[in-house]
Amino acid sequence: MPFIPHTPKDTEEMLAAIGAPDLEALFDEIPAELRIGSLDGVPEALSEMQITRLMRERAGQDGNPLCFIGGGAYEHHIPAAVWDIATRGEYYSAYTPYQAEASQGTLQTIYEYQTMITALTGLDVSNASLYDGASALAEAALMAVRVNRKVKSRRILLAPGVHPVYAQVAEAIAGSQGLTFEWLPVNADSGKVDVDALPAGREPVAVVIQQPTFVGTLEDVDRLTDWAAEQGALSIAIANPTSLAVLKAPGHWGAAGADIACGEGQPLGVPLSSGGPYFGYMTCKSGHVRQMPGRIVGRTTDLDGEPGYALTLQAREQHIRRSKATSNICTNQGLMVTAATIYMSLLGFDGLARVASASQQNTARLADALCAIDGIERLYDGPHFHEVALRLDRPAAGVLDALADHGILGGLDLSRWRPELGNALLVCATETKTEADIAAYAGAMRDVFAPTARRRA
């Protein structure tokens, strides 16, 4: 019996102690008419050897393409030590640190994580993480409503550079509490907020600013943060944590800094893994901490006066406050945060800055190489972080299909989210890409764009 240790003798003795004739008798409180026979929809069991063979076949089925897709999840080198340690049984198979004395490893790790992520975002306090970047925005929006009680509207204004899926997720999660999300006007030439057309009198409860934007450009975050404050709104920053090694931290935006920062923690040592598990980070100014959702770890002392760590401010949470909690959230993404903490420790600030700058420069090189091809140009001028949107002279979908035949996943077709941009492609090259990789992509693209290939694309 897989994973069940009982011998027939054990079972017999245990049933005798219970006073039950057989295992079936243990289910005698379930009404007979509800019982089922066999589970036909579940296949017969496989041994570890058999499932290993099956999974290897499936994992290998899709080849090993060169990937130039970003869009909110980024391929970075993950030091071998990160997951070697994070998957130690003591981290991997522990539960939420409710019994603090027996969970100091997890608790101290989270405390160190909170210290690192507040340093990186330039804000005062952090929680122990949320599910992912998109759901973190939903929680940040709900939190802003609780914090900013002077504003009666539940209107959240989104800079056009906010990831379109984040907006959809925020709407799905927070919409039923009456929050509405509206886009700020976009300057079509720059792809950024049209700062000359910022709306007056909308009474937003919060303004969301993403840096770098979904299309890789850089907003004037100081001006937007100050504008949010002038409107009486809180400012919510969404930032790629890798970028914060080179870009101004949200806590330093504008005159007073962003109120809340959140985003996708995946770039900090978490594998792409088809979309998860990742983790959402959230930090804020200290004055807002009691409205922050999710677990928080604090340092305190024990009976001997020695330092120790425990979950704190639990009076905000669902298991205490029930229907009046700040959120229904129960878990944090503990294992991913453990990995991120090890990742940040191994890289340090200098290492992270090197990852950021190498990614930024690789993407610039890739964009230059692709824009040398007739029919491809940059969609927006000006500085970018490690993603660049390109305008193509033909639909991106066909181009991507043709590139995939060359073993290259060439980026994101933006028409799915931003049809108004026409034939647009978003590309990304992180530090993992070599000159040869970039040359291979450019070579394949030249083939696709060669006059003879035009019909195919």
Binding site: T52, Q61, D62, A73, G89, G133
Partner: protein, 488 residues
Amino acid sequence: MLDKLIFEKSRSGRRAFAQAPAGDDIADIPDALRRGDRPVLPEASELQTVRHFTRLSQKNFSIDTQFYPLGSCTMKYNPRACNSLALLPGFANRHPLGPASHGQGFLTCMYELQEMLKAVTGMQGVSLTPMAGAQGELAGVAMIRAYHKARGDHERNEIIVPDAAHGTNPATATMCGCVVREIPTGPDGDVDIEALRSALGPKTAGIMLTNPSTLGVFERHIADVAALVHDAGGLLYYDGANLNAILGKVRPGDMGFDVIHMNLHKTFSTPHGGGGPGSGAVGVNRRLLPFLPIPVVGRDDVDGEPVYRWLEEEDVPQSIGRLSGFMGNAGVLLRAYVYMRMVGRDGMQRIAEYATLNANYLMARLADAGLELAFPGRRASHEFIITLRKDARQYDLTAMDVAKALLDRNYHAPTTYFPLLVPECLLIEPTETESKETLDGFVDALVAIVEDARHNGKTYKDAPYTMPVRRLDDVKAARQLDIRFDGE
């Protein structure tokens, strides 16, 4: 005694040199947008980092090192193969926005996982996207709301929740813009049917139930509850926290539930990871199919061959929408898939049988030893409740004291002070993966603690004694908030 923080072990200028790529100058970003300060991240060597976090891990209790009978959490063994196979390079390196043409292996697993979950729950559709049980609840209640709205039934905004429910249930209902109506539990642990009857009405959106309940007993009147709620125009939500107890024996769909969430990190043995990631897949019956959260994996047949793809907005136009940036906790789903394939059809029933055997055996032995059961005369499901209310009164022995004393005997504590309606309670869930010897050892430890208090006047106010720290000052933690290291 704790280790220093990694920041206190740092030395300016030290680095893990093998990990940093060659950097580049970034001349084309204007100064106004650049970072001017130098945030304090660790400066440590690779060995220091490895040693630091290895040592920290050793300060945890975990399933791999201790018996962990945490009620309502299903802390069963997490098979190693589930982890190593989910981290195969072809899975770990796949970009979430990669084309379906380069994801057929992964999508096949996801589609088959959906099908297996439908089979074990008796539901007609499954979405894997919710990232934790609480997010599954959010999806479920949002679907109930969407269902009523689609029928023009805009007044239905009340969610009925028994007083024994997990805190996430009422918190979720609030998040979905609903009003919570709490109903009491009868003395035998079943729902108070008369209280339910009077709570139902034209504003009823639905009821959220855990079955077996958090009291560790099966709701015997579930068919009546379902009929009453459906007759009143409401829907039934199944909180899958305790699904392990009934796998292959009885299915939520057959009990009359319209929507369920499953905690894959409980029933299907994906890791708890020190507090996450979880995974809260949802299942629905036919009437809620149009509202499932996206993406869902669909299957087309192309020239007789199956081809898998994501179903998105255009395929599920009435969907409650997206709950994650990409595709939920995909890597967790792969682990659950591997687990279910290894357990197989017959293994599902064995899980319920041996989880229930272990719980009833522990319950019988502890009752024989003189501990008080919260619901004597009832069969335990996969968990049961001991109450220490008399010991707390007579010997000043609280559930908290027992929990801490167990740590000193190298057992993780059961869940304490939940459910809220049983005073001084221990909610004990052994799971099917524990052996009789382990259970016997736990009984001996627990009985010894209680007997020492009853007969020898021993107290455990200062326990634990053998952990890396002594009992911690929670009040100070909340009042003198220290939630990041400031260099002192």
